[in-house]
């Protein structure tokens, strides 16, 4: 048997801003620049979820793609899409919704929920030229 990696993409569009309540306005603007504007701004995010598993000898699949798509939609896209991440998504009440923290949050939402395969990597593109990867705790 061979271990195969399979990647599925999904997209969502959301608003966010970066602000640490423990800091002054001036310090927030120094560290976060334009992202500290509390009126928020937005992105079209692309999510890449990579799972690892053995190829099933009967189906030829690592994972049922339709099932994976449904899990991504239910656990992530329906929660994040066309939402304000800071104001409407629970995990970002206590964590700044940076690309890094979104990758970790998506991992935590998906880990253990994909039948027959192991979550290998979550990659979140904020823009085509900027992305964050999280692969769980080493």
């Amino acid at each position: 048997m061979s271990m195969v990696l399979l990647t599925r993409k999904a997209e969502f569009s959301a608003a966010h801003f970066y602000y640490n309540e423990a800091w002054s306005q001036q310090e927030n603007e120094r560290v976060f620049g334009k992202c500290a504007n509390r009126n928020g701004h937005g992105h079209n995010y692309t999510l890449e979820v990579t799972v690892a598993g053995e190829v099933d000898p009967v189906s030829g699949f690592v994972v049922d793609l339709k099932a994976l798509k449904e899990i991504l939609n239910r656990e992530v896209v329906e929660v994040y899409d066309h939402r304000h991440l800071n104001l409407e998504v629970p995990e970002f009440r206590s964590a700044i919704p940076t690309t890094e923290n979104i990758a970790i949050a998506v991992w935590n939402r998906l880990n253990g929920k994909i039948p027959g395969a192991r979550l290998h990597r979550v990659r979140v593109y904020e823009m085509p030229d900027l992305f964050a990867d999280y692969c769980g705790e080493a």
Binding site: V31, P128, L130, A132, D133
Partner: protein, 134 residues
């Protein structure tokens, strides 16, 4: 909580692949069209990946403003719209994309102190790319 942050930059530059260790005939044989005496050019994409714990206060592996500032100053401004063969670092080094990747990795490793450099990946065209990881 170790995470990775990657950023892509574009730079357009000319180069010519020619080794003084080879005869002209051998250079043509080894490098083919890339040995054209007048040079040619590419739109390079330089992708850099940094890693580290996500800072609890900022939510970041590394501040993008620090990455952009360094990369613009040390890499893009240095190489964009230049002829690589005329750069000091390529005086005795063939400016293949492998060597460009190694030099860019060296410049970032030596100068950027805000996060650990994991990888430099350069796309010379959409069909060929080169990577150096620590």
């Amino acid at each position: 909580m170790k995470a990775y942050l990657s950023r892509r930059y574009r730079l357009s530059a000319a180069h010519r692949l020619h080794s003084p260790a080879y005869s002209d005939a051998k250079n043509r044989e080894v490098y083919g069209k890339c040995n054209n005496p007048h040079g040619h050019g590419h739109n390079y994409i330089v992708e850099v990946t940094f890693s580290g714990p996500v800072d609890a206060a900022t939510g970041m592996v590394v501040n993008l403003a620090d990455v952009d500032g360094f990369m613009r100053r040390e890499i893009v401004d240095r190489f964009d719209h230049q002829n690589l063969n005329q750069q000091a670092i390529f005086e005795h080094l063939v400016p293949t994309t492998e060597n460009l990747c190694r030099e860019i990795h060296r410049i970032i490793s030596a100068g950027f102190k805000h996060a650990k450099l994991e990888r430099v990946r350069i796309e010379e065209t959409s069909n060929n790319f080169f990577e150096i990881s620590e």
